[in-house]
Amino acid sequence: MLSDRQLSEQGLEARGNSSRLLLLACGALAREILALVEVNGWDHMDLQCLPAKLHLTPERIPDAVEAAVEAARNTYDDVFVVYADCGTGGLLQQRCEALGVRMIDGPHCYSFFEGNETFAAHAEQEITAFYLTDFLVRQFDAFVWRPMGFDRHPQLIDIMFGNYEKLVYLAQTENPDLDRQAREAAERLGLGYERRFTGYGDLATALATLQT
């Protein structure tokens, strides 16, 4: 069984089921990628994840990706990096180009789950929205509540979220439990709530192009 805690802290080791294509991904995408691989029967793909907690220190992502790509070169024919820019300001893209590997398009996972075009089209109308994905709903305490210090200093909620109006849960799956947890998260932050089903969005289409 996959544990979210492990995906956050350690990531996920490759299973070694194929030596053709390694998907090198953020731990926050592990379940979604495995679900896609399974329903589509993409047996030529193996998956390795870096710890999802890199999300909070994006300046470390390019080096971590590079090290993993270099380590995988001898084992796999090809590597595809399943990280959006994620706040590296274009540096991850540059690094992937230098390494000669491709990566998924988009500024962050909220955007590619909804579809980069759709997200960009409403970005301006929705700047006071705070987004969660399935992973972040499950890991809300580990990725938002505790790192932002709200458990120790509840007065910081207003300082950090004072300009926000609603929490938008971008749902990858139909799951009433997650819907309930996301609504709770919105309440804890003092925000309105909206659930928007996205499915796997551009993640599905990007991986589908990796057929060989």
Binding site: T57, P58, E59, D85, G87, T88, G89, G90, L91, P107, H108, A120, A123, E124, I127, T128, P147, M148, G149, R152, H153, L156, I159, M160, N163, Y164
Partner: protein, 233 residues
């Protein structure tokens, strides 16, 4: 904290122990204690400017270094900033009265589409602490808001902040507009925010990219000095 420290009576400490204690309190985000320390130093005849620079700004500089080195995290920085702000609120009116040095005026704001403001607020505060007058436009600023404020305020410096890869290119829109209207050379343009880098700052035509608030202060001082020297000849 140990019991011993709980019982500490700030007003009984000599200056040379009180100031480091205030820096510790600032580091720990203890707003009331910092405010108390400021009031004690005022009573002891310190100038507002000395209190600001020798206790508050210096204390906050330590916070900045430890944040950069990964020892402190966002919530701790916010709490420390809150404590510093408490002290500054007391000093601000007095600084004006006592004619503390004025280095220049900065209009600062987060760019359109972006509502991250922690870093921007920190820069504004440290710049103010260093003697710059600050006009804070808040978040989500379009080109008109920046340029109207620069003109209305007769500012020397424009500061723009962005934390999203999708919003950082907007800085170029603002700079290009300044160029088109022939106003680019009237202002020093500083940019910052975690996803930016030196190369990006150059590419969009900013005067400087600053990695943190301390660098912002140093850079602003230097560029203002150069601007004045140029003005003189």
């Amino acid at each position: 904290m140990s019991d011993e420290e709980d019982d500490l009576i700030l007003s009984e400490l000599p200056d040379e122990e009180l100031v480091p204690q205030m820096m510790d309190d600032l580091y720990d985000g203890m707003k009331e204690e910092v405010e108390e320390g400021v009031n004690i130093l005022l009573e002891r005849g310190w100038t507002p400017y000395d209190i600001l620079t020798k206790a508050l700004v210096e204390g906050m500089a330590i916070v900045g270094v430890d944040f950069r080195d990964g020892i402190l995290f966002v919530p701790e920085v916010l709490l420390a900033a809150g404590a510093m702000k408490g002290g500054m609120e007391i000093l601000k009116p007095l600084l004006v009265e006592t004619g503390a040095p004025r280095l220049g005026k900065m209009v600062i704001g987060t760019v359109k589409g972006d509502i991250h403001d922690i870093g921007k607020n920190l820069v504004a505060m440290m710049m103010e602490g260093a003697g710059f007058e600050i006009v804070d436009l808040g978040i989500n600023n379009d080109v008109d808001k920046y340029i109207d404020a620069l003109k209305a305020e007769g500012a020397d410096i424009l500061g723009m902040s962005a934390l999203l890869t999708t919003t950082m290119p907007y800085m170029k829109v603002v700079i290009d507009t300044l160029v088109e209207t022939g106003a680019r050379d009237d202002y020093i343009v500083l940019v910052g925010g975690a996803p930016l880098n030196e190369e990006f700052g150059k590419a969009i035509g900013a005067d400087a990219y600053c990695r943190d608030a301390a660098v912002a202060v140093e850079t602003a001082k230097e560029l203002i000095m150069r601007k004045h020297n140029r003005g003189a000849d």
